[in-house]
């Protein structure tokens, strides 16, 4: 079993990409792997208390057909990305950090963020925690 953590850099703030990231994170957590998540730009914006449950749209390639299919999946009971992440966070060791540069650029304060976010750090701290584990950019 791989002891290195799974490291996700989340950049995009659309629901489909956040859901894909939440699936990767929860799969790793279910295997007992540590997960580090670093939130940049629009992904960070999506973790604001005011935004997290809002409709965040889809990646442009989804198109009309994609939007219809995603809406059907939600109707059929697929839980939203933040609910998937919350379950995964209870399951294993998952650290979610906001990128300090993105906090500055987007004028976000720590108290604006959902409690899923554990803190704020710079990219150097992220790389140190990532160790030799894989880094995925989503």
């Amino acid at each position: 079993m791989d002891d290195e953590p799974l490291n996700l850099v989340l950049f995009s703030g659309t629901e489909d990409r956040l859901q894909a990231a939440a699936v990767m994170a929860s799969g790793a957590a279910a295997l007992g792997r540590r997960v580090n998540i670093f939130l940049q730009y629009w992904a960070l914006d999506a973790f604001r208390k005011e935004r997290i449950s809002a409709s965040l749209g889809l990646a442009p390639e989804a198109g009309e057909r994609g939007a219809t299919l995603i809406a059907e999946a939600a109707k059929a009971g697929q839980q939203p990305w933040h609910a998937t992440l919350r379950v995964a966070k209870e399951l294993g060791e998952m650290d979610i950090q906001a990128c300090s540069l993105s906090m500055d650029v987007l004028k976000i304060e720590e108290e604006d963020l959902d409690p899923l976010v554990d803190g704020v750090e710079g990219v150097t701290a992220f790389f140190l925690n990532a160790g030799d584990g894989h880094i995925l950019f989503i």
């Binding site: 699936v23 007992g32 009971g77 399951l91």
Partner: protein, 78 residues
Amino acid sequence: MSTEQIAQVVDAKGLSCPMPIVKTAQAIKGLASGQLLEVLATDPGSVKDFTAWANATGNPLVEHGEEGGVFRFVLRKK
């Protein structure tokens, strides 16, 4: 067919990947070593997922099958 008693059943029918595995990982935490966990799922990816998860975590998959589109897995807590 095992005649041992199942300690807990997780109904993950209708849930999509990775929730059946996530619910399984949660449930197995609460069992004592040697107890059996039964999981019911409809996600077609779950067959490969449960085999892989059992191997990776060391909780053996002692039984699995499919009936009417419902997959059934029995795992033993290590």
